[in-house]
Amino acid sequence: MTAPSALASLLFRKPGLLTFALLAPPIFWLVVVYLGSLFALMLQSFYALDDFSGLILHEFTLATYAHLFDEANIQIILRTLIMAAVVTVASAIIAFPIAYYAARFARGKMKALFYLAVMMPLWSSYLVKIYAWKLILAKEGIVSWVANLLHGQWLIDALLSIPSIGGSSLSFSYIGTFLVFVYIWLPYMILPIQTSLERVPYSLIEASTDLGATPAQTFRNIIFPLAFPGVVAGSIFTFSLTLGDYIVPQIVGNSRLMIGQAVYTFQGTSGDIPLAAAFTVVAMFIMGTYLTVAKRLGAFDAL
């Protein structure tokens, strides 16, 4: 018996050893590269930037975390949380009819078509999708063209004049940022809702109808509560992706920062890696809390 085949039989006879040999490389990678980096991230957040030299002081301090409570930084965190929440609610409202139709009415070819129609935008290039909205929302773009056609320019002007969410044009306002977020994360909301709607047993709906419930009552008391974990599962994606994004608000939005942009700016131009790391830890903390709540609401069973 040659050495390699002896090794193979040994591994085969001792499955524990085989499992270990298979697991070692990927675990090594994830522990060293991924968890190691996350550890480095925590470490960095306890360092601080020296104001005079502009260098990072590699000493344990809470100064960087204290910095997070500056008025401007609190604003950044709150702004991001509000945006993530509003985007999540809007995505759920737009996604539900699509998922409902696909789950309960589409059959055969129509069903496959629906599936592809949701999957294609999900997988198409992230940057290209953002770029598309820059074209759409530009002052000379299609939205203004349609508005002029329908004599509705006043409506856009009225929206843009709303303080804090408005701006000089749609592509430089929070309304624009919000639209792009909803657009790019929408498929992530549709798919889990559709899955949970498909799992609602038809017998329950029949029973409800037989017992004299109106369609609206059946929807409110039977279908929606059973599909709700799917909505929560989808919200994990829309919330988390909005929370960490820095490219969308940079391309379509105004100059006030969100968490992702703060991280990007601090680690880049200002070289303040500790503060960028502390902001990232805040995002991790928020996501951790969100996931705990989502788990309680049964979202993980709907994935």
Binding site: L23, V33, I94, P97, S125, L127, L135, Y264
Partner: protein, 262 residues
Amino acid sequence: MHSEAKWPLKLAATAGLLFLHIPLGLIILYAFTTEEKSYQFPPPGLTTQWFAKAWFDRPDIWPPLYLSLEVALISTLLAMILGTCAAAALSRARFYGRNSLSLLFVLPIALPGIITGMALRSAFDIMSIAFSTWTIILGHTTFCMVVVYNNVLARFRRTSGEMVEASMDLGATGTQTFIYVVLPQIASALLAGGMLAFALSFDEVIVTTFTAGQQTTLPIWIYGELRHPTIRPITNVVAIFVIAVTFVPILFAYYFTRESES
């Protein structure tokens, strides 16, 4: 149940789907516009000149394209090896800590990209690692691995281990068993996972900006053009190219996994 949907539902579903698809159509339309300084709609005229111009007159597009291809190829290859190992081990074995390991394997995709990016950036800074092609690959392999792992794991769960036992009982070596028994069983899932990983890596920008330093991948080039536009229709031509490069593997992946399930 087999009643027809009511019109408000139909309307809402149709409007939602249109909302998902019109923007991508516009990207294609704007690649043919004659207007290069603004996003005027409707385009004042149509032309195909930008495709030739992008190909011949823009040497700045090629190096980012090559870098993106290089990163995507190497990351995908590494991810296919590591992801398959992980899936093979976790699909059958039962041991203490298995559930936490499963969680660890999906973490890089479950957490927002900015966390992975900033974590790597922090680590490179602490260890004084200079940015290079390999720092980009390090980040990409981490999330590509998850995609391959998920696809191959699903396949392993649907195949039984008896074939492997039979092969070994009949005297095949480990290598023979792997090539003739295991590989054919997982091949299409592995290929599908690899294709998705490639598409993911080729298009990735959030993690990449933190691990690239001064290097420019194709998505970073596009990001630059979005912030400081030069000749706008050229960006659209590159965008169409990116859509094509990511779409083809995804359609293949869809086809591979569908065929084997029916």
